[in-house]
């Protein structure tokens, strides 16, 4: 059955290539198009800002011929993005980077792009489509980094609460498995409560305030970026502030920098610089380098010591992102090829 699907697509591809067979590639430098599903939150805006910055520089450096960024209208709608992608396909870019609205709905459209000979890289998501390269952060890494930091922050023993993410979502299930494993390895850490906070500061504050009176002394909150709300809840209740995991947004980092959050706190989140990482990865693929179909990049981690450096580099309404360069991406790709992703060094703290 799948074969017939493929066969039909190939048939379509040959037909489409009639449209494509225009001018042969003039220069070796690729043209790049980025398709983003929506622009409705700080993460996506930071992603676009980081990409535009890096792509402008790459264009000046002669790595790419030109680039265009396109944000689909609407609220993360797959059909709007399909329409947008098809309009982009008319332009026949050499590299197509996609931050998709859905892991499945774009597949026929992306297949069409592959068939036109375009290098397609999807980031911040995944897809089953064979011809597409995936550049992503691992949710396991995210959970491992933030949980380990909190466990270290409370000195390896004490009471913790687990603040869980979006109820029932696959990333949350993956993250929870990692958290449970790490807690098993640290038997002195006792879990005294579990909440679903959707990794959202306001929801965490609300959930915690409702039950805080019934909780024993809490040393740490293991979570995925709701630290600001957690700290505020403990402050409101007049309790000792625990070690928490913040979101690396400008606002949360400043709040943390003002002395809120116990020493040893951390800020972790998936990296808005993934778009840039995908750009350099795709350029390498375009230039003929062998790259694994899925490449893992590290999430953003802000530790206690580097916090003030990060605060200087992140705007108030931004999310912190790694500043990927060609060299850094090459190093990370090498780690991916060698299977050493977990040990790979993190990029340096960005400077603005």
């Amino acid at each position: 059955m799948k074969n017939l699907f493929a066969a039909t697509l190939v048939a379509a591809a040959t037909a489409t290539s009639a449209l494509v067979a225009g001018p042969a590639m003039a220069a070796d430098k690729p043209t790049v198009a980025l398709s983003n599903a929506f622009l409705g939150n700080a993460w996506r805006r930071s992603m676009i800002t980081a990409f535009e910055e890096a792509a402008t520089k790459a264009e000046a450096d002669g790595l790419i011929a030109s680039f265009q960024v396109s944000n689909a209208p609407g609220e993360n709608s797959a059909t709007e993005q399909i329409a947008q992608l098809k309009a982009l396909l008319l332009d026949e870019p050499d590299i197509l980077l996609v931050n998709p609205a859905s892991p499945t709905a774009l597949n026929p459209t992306l297949q069409q792009a592959c068939n036109m000979g375009i290098v397609v890289a999807v980031f911040d998501s995944s897809t089953d489509l064979e011809c597409v390269h995936i550049v992503t952060n691992s949710f396991g890494d995210w959970a491992r980094l933030s949980t380990q930091a909190v466990i270290d922050g409370i000195g390896g023993k004490g009471n913790v609460i687990i603040a869980r993410g979006v109820q029932g979502s696959p990333p949350e299930i993956e993250m929870y498995e990692v958290q449970t494993e790490l807690l098993k390895a640290n038997p002195d850490v006792k879990v005294v409560g579990e909440f679903f906070t959707f990794c959202d500061s306001a929801k965490a504050q609300e959930a915690l305030l409702g039950t805080i009176a019934s909780l024993p002394e809490v040393d740490g909150v293991i979570g995925c970026g709701e630290g600001l709300g957690a700290v505020q809840a403990f402050q409101t209740a007049g309790r000792d502030i625990p070690v928490v995991a913040f979101a690396p947004s400008g606002r949360a980092l400043k709040f943390w920098g003002e002395g809120n959050g116990a020493p040893g706190s951390v800020a972790v989140m998936s990296d808005p610089g993934q778009g840039v990482a995908a750009l350099f990865t795709a350029i390498n693929i375009y230039n003929g380098q062998e790259v694994p179909r899925t490449t893992i990049f590290p999430p953003v981690v802000v530790s206690d010591e580097e916090r003030d450096q990060w605060i200087a580099a992140v705007g108030d309404d931004e999310i912190a992102s790694w500043q990927w360069t060609q060299e850094l991406v090459d190093a990370q790709l090498k780690a991916n090829i060698d299977g050493m992703v977990a040990e790979a060094a993190l990029p340096p703290v960005p400077v603005r």
Partner: protein
């Protein structure tokens, strides 16, 4: 009655026709303008492949808008069409692919459910807004039950359709859209049933006096909405290659906008199939236009909204003039 005035009225443009057709014509002009601008930026649009590329994402929206148009012609509004279309994609990508008989039965059941919804609205005097909003959660639940996460795969004949190339370089999406619109136009404007739909919207008392059953008429209208919704779901499955109940919640309001752009009214009694088609294509092409214009990311949503408001404002002016 003054005969002079009567004669004068007969000589001028028939007012009802003007009010019905002019807004749609205005939208048609907007649509053609957008197409021309797109074509100036990207001449590759003017080919069978180019038109197929930009039109294929609009097909499902256009057919869903037909469904909404039928609903609005009887004076109701469907707040569940987005999730209904989504639910249909989940059925098409699973049941219809694996066990076609069951799939067809499930889709027929969905149409029947719509007809029953119509009976509920008529018999219990539930506002259609509430009934269809309630139904939307049922569609969502059923869709999640069939496919908890997006997936499944469209039947092979749908893939074959997606890559169908009609002769004479006619883009396939256009064929589908025009066929669906012609069907809707024929039923709503050229049959007795269509007359009953429209009088249910504009003058239910007259409909009762003429001896028709309000319940049966409303049930038939809702069934037609269901049939068009199923068609929209099938074409959407071809586009996204699988099923996803959350694929197009936005259709609920976009289809209303398409009908209004096409000359429809919230108060019912007006069936404007061709105008609605122009409205749906205009709304669908906006994404293409904005992508081709490569405007700054922050400006795009604002420009999209501005174009819609401009067309609607134009309609207001046209209606004033034709009064």
């Amino acid at each position: 009655m003054n005969t002079a005035i009567l004669q004068q009225a007969q000589l001028t443009w028939p007012r009802g026709l003007g009010r019905r057709v002019l807004p749609g014509c205005l939208t048609l002009v907007a649509m053609v303008l957008i197409l021309i601008v797109c074509g100036m930026i990207q001449p590759r649009i003017w080919s069978q492949n180019g038109l197929t590329l930009i039109m294929s994402p609009i097909v499902a929206l256009a057919i869903a808008s037909m469904a909404q148009m039928v609903m609005m012609s009887i004076g109701d509004i469907d707040l569940g069409i987005g999730f209904f279309v989504g639910m249909v994609t989940t059925i098409v990508a699973t049941l219809l692919r694996d066990t076609p008989v069951l799939g067809v039965l499930a889709l027929a059941g969905a149409v029947l459910a719509y007809a029953l919804l119509g009976a509920l609205v008529q018999l219990r005097a539930v506002p259609s807004l509430i009934a269809t909003l309630g139904a939307s959660f049922v569609w969502l639940g059923l869709g999640l039950f069939v496919l908890p996460v997006p997936g499944g795969m469209a039947p092979d004949w749908l893939f074959a359709y997606a890559f169908w190339k009609p002769p004479l370089s006619i883009p396939a999406p256009l064929v589908t859209m025009v066929a669906a619109t012609a069907l809707t136009w024929f039923v709503t404007r050229r049959t007795g049933l269509g007359v009953r739909f429209r009088s249910l919207g504009s003058n239910p008392v007259a409909l009762t006096r003429s001896g028709s059953s309000l319940v049966v008429t409303r049930m038939l209208a809702y069934a037609m909405v269901g049939v068009l919704g199923v068609l929209a779901g099938i074409t959407l499955t071809a586009e996204i290659g699988g099923g996803d109940v959350n694929a197009v919640p936005g259709y609920t309001l976009t289809t209303v906008a398409a009908v209004i752009l096409g000359g429809g009214m919230f108060t019912g009694g007006r069936a404007v199939a061709w105008g609605t088609l122009a409205g749906a294509i205009t709304l669908g092409l906006l994404t293409v236009l904005l992508t081709l214009l490569s405007l700054s990311s922050n400006l795009q949503p604002a420009v999209q909204g501005f174009i819609v408001i401009a067309v609607l404002a134009g309609r207001l002016v046209v209606e004033r003039m034709s009064r």
